[in-house]
Assembly symmetry: C2
Homo-oligomer: 215 residues x 2
Amino acid sequence: MGEIEFVKPMDIERRSFAIITQLLEEQGRETEGVNAPVLKRVIHTTADFDYAENLVFSPGAVETGLAALREGCDIVTDTQMARAGINKAALQRLGGSVHCFMSDPDVAELARERGVTRAAVCMEKAAALQRPCIYAIGNAPTALLRLREMLDAGELDSCPPVLIIGVPVGFVNVVESKELILETRVPHIVARGRKGGSNVAAAICNALLYQLGRP
Amino acid sequence: MGEIEFVKPMDIERRSFAIITQLLEEQGRETEGVNAPVLKRVIHTTADFDYAENLVFSPGAVETGLAALREGCDIVTDTQMARAGINKAALQRLGGSVHCFMSDPDVAELARERGVTRAAVCMEKAAALQRPCIYAIGNAPTALLRLREMLDAGELDSCPPVLIIGVPVGFVNVVESKELILETRVPHIVARGRKGGSNVAAAICNALLYQLGRP
C-alpha cells in the first residue's frame, strides 16, 4: 500500500519546514534572518524554490508588518481565495480583520460605470476605511497599479498602507505592476516576475501572523 | 509611471492563454488535445511551467469529468481555499455544488476521537453522500491515502469517485500519496511530485467547468 509513513498532523509542518530549510541551505540561501519565515512559508505553500530568488523585501518590511499586526491592523485582499486562506482566528486575536470587497455589488457597479476593474475600486474602498491596513494582492495587477496612482497623487497620505504584499500571478501587466510597487518607499514584499497568487498572498500574511502566536 | 498597458479585463485572460500556448509550443508541448485546457489553466494560475511535466491524466479522465459535470455531479474538496476558488455559479448552472467538510464540528470531533486527520474523515463523509462526486484534493495527502484505502476495501463500490484530482502540495507524504492514486484505475488528474495546492485544485475544476459554459 505504498510507503506512507504516519506522522502526527502537528509534526508534519515542523518536518516540512526542516526539509525546506535544509534545501535552502544546500542552495546557499539565508535561512535565519527576519525574512526567512516568510520565504519558507511561501515555499511550504507552493513547493517552488524559485521564490528564494523572486521574493523581494524592502528593508524593515517584515518588522513593520509585525508591529502593525500586533497593534490590530486589518488586511485587505483582492481575492476570496486569499481571504479564505488567511488565518482569521490568528488575526482576530490581535484585533484585526480581513476585508475583500471584490464581490460587493457597489464595487461591481462603480467599476462598470467608470470602465475600470473591480480590483481598482476595491483599493479605493479600502483606502476609505482610513484604518491601518496591510494590502495583500494575490491576483489583480490593476490593484497594484491603482495603489501606485493613489500613492503618487498623495491620496493615501492621511492613512498610508502599512505594507503592500504584491504577489499577483500572470502573463499580462503582472511583472510591470509589481515593478511599480518595488519603486515605491512603502514597505513591501513583492514576488518579482510572473509568479505569485492568492495562496502566496495568504501564506505571507500567515507567516507574519504565526510569529505573533497561533490559535 | 511604468509601462502598464490598458487591456480590457475580458481580454486579459485570452491574451494570457495565447502567451501560455506559445510558450508551451516553444517547449514542444501538446497544446491542442483534450487535456491542454486543464494544463493551460493550471499554468495561468501558477505561472509555473513545471506542470507541463508534472500533470498526469489517466486516459479519458477529462472526458469523464466533463460528462459527469454535465449531468450535475458535485465537487468535494479538502480546503476552504479551493472551495472559494471553484466557480460555483458555473457548477450550479449544471446542477452541482461544492462540499468542503473541513470546518464541520462533527468532523473535528471524529478525527480527534479516532486519532486520524480531519481530511480523512471528510473523505468518509463525502462517500456517505452517495452522490457522484469529483474529489478535488489540494492540501491533504491523508485525504488521498484514505480514498485509496476505501477504494481497496471496496467501500466506494456503490458510488465510486467520478474523478480524483490529486494535487496536494508539500514535503511530507505528499509525493507518495499521489503515487497511490496514480496506481488506481479511478479516473485521475494528478500533479506528480511535490507541487500542487488549493489554487491548482480549483484551477483544474474551473478548466473543466469553463468548457461547459461560463456564467
